[in-house]
Amino acid sequence: MIEAKNITKKFRHVTALKRLNVSFGENRIYGLLGRNGAGKSTLLNLITNRLIPSEGFLYVDGMPAMENDTALGRISYMSEDTLYEPSVRVRRMFEWSKLFNPGFDTDYANGLAAKFGLDPGKKFGQLSTGYRSIAKLVATLASGAEYLLFDEPVLGLDANHRQLFYEELLARYAEKPCTVILSTHLIEEVSALIGHVVIIKDGTILLDRPAEEIQDMGFTVSGRKEDVLAWSSGKNILGTQEIGGLMLAHILGDRGAVPENLTVTPLDLQQLFIHLTNA
């Protein structure tokens, strides 16, 4: 389990995270969602010791994570920034990963690279954005670590490669139990994949729920404007839309009984996310 307790992170001009508390338990696929600048990458960088928290503590499997080689060795983090110099060949990155982490499966990495059409002989500087992402995500999938963290893994990937990534991720997940944290903007693509949803907003956790509960969290009613307003007054309305005399109201909470003159549709994860983070 990865635990973040009362984490605060201040940069020169901004406080990115404010007394944030979250934990990522074993053998689950987490979706870490948030708008640009919400604090997702900062949180992941803190967990992996790439940034030092201003306040608070981080634990991996009960051990303090900060400056702890053993704890950090259990995590493989595919970050948005590329930490390898442009002159480094992908093959060399695999070798180094193996050096630092004996559990790294080089054959699997090479096989995976071939599936994606990545040439391990290429240097990082020669790769396109998409192929840089591919090189990094292959390294993380092949790492053999217990915690796989992905920050925007499919950045720049075409549709075919995105699908391939999700398939390979699930195959890897099935083969050896691990905890996956997927931080992404492509909510619709991953909504069926993830078992647990964590939403960050303005540096704190807005929502932390199993994915199956998301469907019941909110709904949309539509119908004549007067009918909708009448029925939805007093309820937790996240937002409304109007087209002519027709109104849609997005509501958070229990459905209860909905009258015949109104139509109810469920709020999927992406819509729920947009409405919750719009405020």
Partner: protein, 236 residues
């Protein structure tokens, strides 16, 4: 602790540069020695010194500078703590300094193989030379690392200020110290005395540089211990 792996990485990452450097140095030393001695045969007198050890010291300063950013990022990428990264750099420094000092001193001794007239730079024993250059190398590696680290941590404004003021300040200091050396009682004459003491023997100088090295390794650690990842992309 991933110390062994990180140190191995440091050695591997630098090995090509070192081999090329040693190779060039050796080639130059041999060539110049041959040239000198063929000239000496025709009545040409003078002193010849290659200064391989001195060049080595400067080379290690550059190695120190290049040992901060990329190495720190490799540590981050592979779950290695800053402490382990710094300790591995220390180990690298000791090994690299010792090997380069030994190599430098040995190469500088090449001209002495010939019976022709030749003035060595140092009058003291090779062992003393080795210790001196070991200390100097470590000091320069620490200094290079610290400078690279300090620049990594600083923001743009600080970098400009430091880049202008520190060299300017050092020049002023040097001028005052030199003039103070002649005149006792001047404010910096005590400071100048240290340099005079240092220049009087290689062992004194070695001692000075060891203290210098220790100090700057400490500064280097201070600049490392809370270094964060810089949100930069590799060339697109």
């Amino acid at each position: 602790m991933k110390l062994k792996q990180m140190t191995l990485w440091q050695l591997k990452a630098n090995s090509t540069a070192f081999l090329i450097f040693y190779g060039i140095l050796l080639a130059l030393a041999v060539t110049l020695t041959i040239v000198f001695f063929s000239l000496a045969g025709s009545g040409y007198t003078g002193t010849f010194n290659f200064g391989a050890a001195a060049i080595g010291a400067f080379f290690l300063f550059v190695v120190g500078c290049s040992s901060f950013s990329e190495n720190l990022h490799i540590a981050f990428a592979n779950g290695v703590s800053r402490r382990t990264h710094f300790l591995s750099f220390l180990l690298l420094s000791v090994i690299a300094s010792a090997v380069t000092a030994a190599f430098g001193v040995a190469v500088d001794a090449i001209p002495s193989l010939s019976p022709a007239t030749w003035q060595p730079l140092f009058t003291e024993s090779p062992w003393a030379q080795f210790l001196f250059f070991l200390a100097l190398n470590m000091a320069l590696m620490a200094l290079g690392y610290f400078i690279a680290g300090a620049y990594y941590r600083m923001n743009k404004a600080a970098r400009w200020i430091v880049s202008i003021c520190i060299p300017a300040g050092l020049i002023v200091l040097a001028v005052f110290t030199v003039s103070a050396a002649e005149v006792p009682g001047m404010p910096l004459s005590a400071f100048a005395q240290i340099f005079i003491w240092m220049a009087s023997s290689l062992m004194n100088a070695a001692l000075f540089w060891i203290v210098f090295a220790a100090l700057f390794f400490l500064f280097g650690w201070l600049v490392t211990r809370r270094a964060g990842v810089r949100q930069q992309q590799a060339a697109a």
